[in-house]
Symmetry: C2
Subunit: 360 residues, 2 copies
């Protein structure tokens, strides 16, 4: 297969971890007889430095022309980086939001998995960690508070700010379908999270999710209030399979879930639209404090590349090969510093990429 | 002192736990020479059953006429209770929101404390739990998405729901001041939580909080994004002193923080306006599944009564007496079932109230 992959190395540790993912992709292509062409794209801080804005029209078009985009991490240290002297709409993160909207990436999949080998890193106590968990957050990514109208104005001399949270039934239906589709390939349980005891948007959410559920009689649907979900993720993450929720709740809950695994450096993510196209990136941030040191964990990005092969190219075997290679390297005891524990061997970013390649 | 206390026993375990708090208040009044008169008020499900609506004008007025209100818990099992056949604006929770707004209770204080005696119940691993934590969430309670305009309408044949998130600078200033005031009595650190990389309301929030901070040079102010805060509460709750945030974020984060303690049955809360008046209630829910069994933990409600003495009546000595009595009873090894652990003695709701009275 010929794959046209756009690459956004991004800021902070982005370039280092993306390099390793490309290394692993190349090795996989070689072994399985595919060919990949990469187009480097600038976004976020790296784009501000060159183009003055976090995302240009041209870059957006180049992303659209790719089959899929692999991304590192965006943004810098808000306290010290000059990017944060710019007004909000010109900062690195704004580029990310424009990219999501511009590519219509409404479905954000964020797996949160407690790896057997890494239970020691889990912040939860042994009784809970021992049960293990493997959940998938399905976050709506192009609606809600993130993309509603907003304004800040003086009303009778008083500064007043407003953000609109809007969802229509079509937006809810398409993400709900994705949630149920993915549940069908997993443990057939969907937990739809909302705040239906307060918000109109959540009541519509619940209604549409229930309608969609009718087409998936095998899937168990449960509704949960967002405040309760924030509790349950700590108390008993094993209860979840697919967590389906809107943009802002998904932002909060997916980060909480990723922390509950104790190994953010292991967590991939995919943002999909209604074609085969997808944007794949690690769940963690750009970690400017360790950038350039060669110690960042590339596994989240490598697993994101595996998701890319699976979702955008239907190359399940190849995706499995990468995931198994990661598991094998962990089993052999190799660790980057963020997941290091006693008796294991600490290695750097590039060595981790090399080790994973060896198993493919 | 003469105290006029409104009492909303509420639904589920509400009546049982409020009875114990009244018992402890009466004992405290007796020992310290105060007199208390109680006015019973109906709210939530109990009010729907009698009045058809969750809050009547008359009840609201009676609450206003009290010096303070002690409340149990509101609501029932959404799956089985007839209250949830009613439209949202007529359900038990709607009464709670009307009460908050009607009494202008803009400042919601939710302590999350890991009790030394109860570290075993904490869902976090030992290394984290051993550091202990004692944080106070200061949640804005009468603004934001909870009280903005909302609508559900068909736009070009497509059902569209909208909720408005609005804050003006005055609303932010008054809650921020409360946050800094309380930090001055604690460890002098405020973590203001927002989503300023996306929301206009959060950017205004941040600006006003920074202005207010200038009047409190001794207090260290830090800003944190809400998604990061959801992670940090799991990773390292000991880093927090006062967490200052808006209504919806506060709802989510305070529940997460309470679960992180592992003992929701111990957590009090206070909702205050700009007078001495306050509404005091346990952080946990109405637990309809165990209602009437005499096993619910009354301590959260008893500690809420202590907060009432402290905030609404300036009776610090009396509040201390209740808090110390609770600590002593725990030390003696008495536990309700929710916080039971090996080698301790399990007792019921009323016995717990009695034990606490013995120490006052
Ligand atoms: C950078 C920020 C705008 C973004 C978001 O809130 O969506 C990030 O937190 C994420 O979750 O990808
Ligand atoms: C019952 C509900 C409306 C309420 C809220 O969301 O404020 C509750 O969750 C709380 O935190 O007191």
């Amino acid at each position: 297969m010929e794959m046209k992959i756009g690459v956004i190395k991004g800021d902070g540790i982005g370039p280092e971890i993306v390099d390793e993912a490309m290394k692993v992709l190349d090795q996989t292509a070689k072994v399985y007889g595919h060919s990949i062409s990469y187009t480097q794209l600038l976004m976020g801080g790296a784009s501000i430095d060159v183009n003055g804005v976090p995302l240009t029209e041209e870059t957006l078009q180049l992303a659209k022309d790719s089959d899929a985009v692999l991304m590192g991490s965006i943004g810098g240290d808000a306290k010290t980086s000059p990017w944060y002297q710019l007004e909000p709409s010109k900062r690195p993160e704004a580029g990310l939001l424009q990219l999501r909207k511009g590519l219509n990436l409404f479905a954000n999949l964020r797996p949160a998995v407690l790896y057997d080998e890494l239970k020691g890193a889990c912040p939860l106590k042994k009784e809970i960690a021992d049960r293990g968990f493997d959940l998938m957050i399905m976050r709506e990514l192009t609606g809600g508070l993130y993309f509603g109208k907003r304004s800040t104005e003086e009303i009778d001399g008083v500064l007043t700010a407003k953000d609109e949270l809007t969802y229509n039934e079509n937006e809810i239906r398409r993400i709900a379908k994705r949630g149920f589709d993915i549940a069908m390939k997993r443990n057939k349980k969907v937990t739809s999270v909302d705040k239906a005891n307060v918000l109109d948007s959540s009541r519509l959410w619940r209604k549409v999710v229930e309608e969609v559920a009718k087409d998936y009689p095998e899937v168990t649907l449960e509704h949960m209030l967002v405040d309760n979900c924030a509790m349950q993720l700590v108390k008993d993450p094993a209860q979840f399979d697919v967590v389906l929720t809107e943009n802002m709740f998904g932002d909060i809950l997916s980060d909480e879930a990723s922390m509950v695994t104790g190994s953010i450096g292991m967590l991939a993510s995919a943002s999909l639209n209604d074609t085969k196209f997808g944007l794949y990136e690690p769940s963690g941030g750009s970690a400017p404090d360790i950038a350039g040191k060669g110690i960042a964990n590339p596994i989240a990005t490598i697993l994101s590349a595996a998701m890319m092969l699976r979702f955008s190219f239907d190359l399940d075997k190849e995706a499995d090969a990468i995931e198994n290679a990661v598991a094998a390297v962990l089993k052999d005891g190799y660790r980057t510093i963020d997941i290091m524990s006693e008796g294991k061997e600490q290695i750097g970013t590039a060595q981790m990429g090399d080790k994973i390649c060896e198993y493919i």
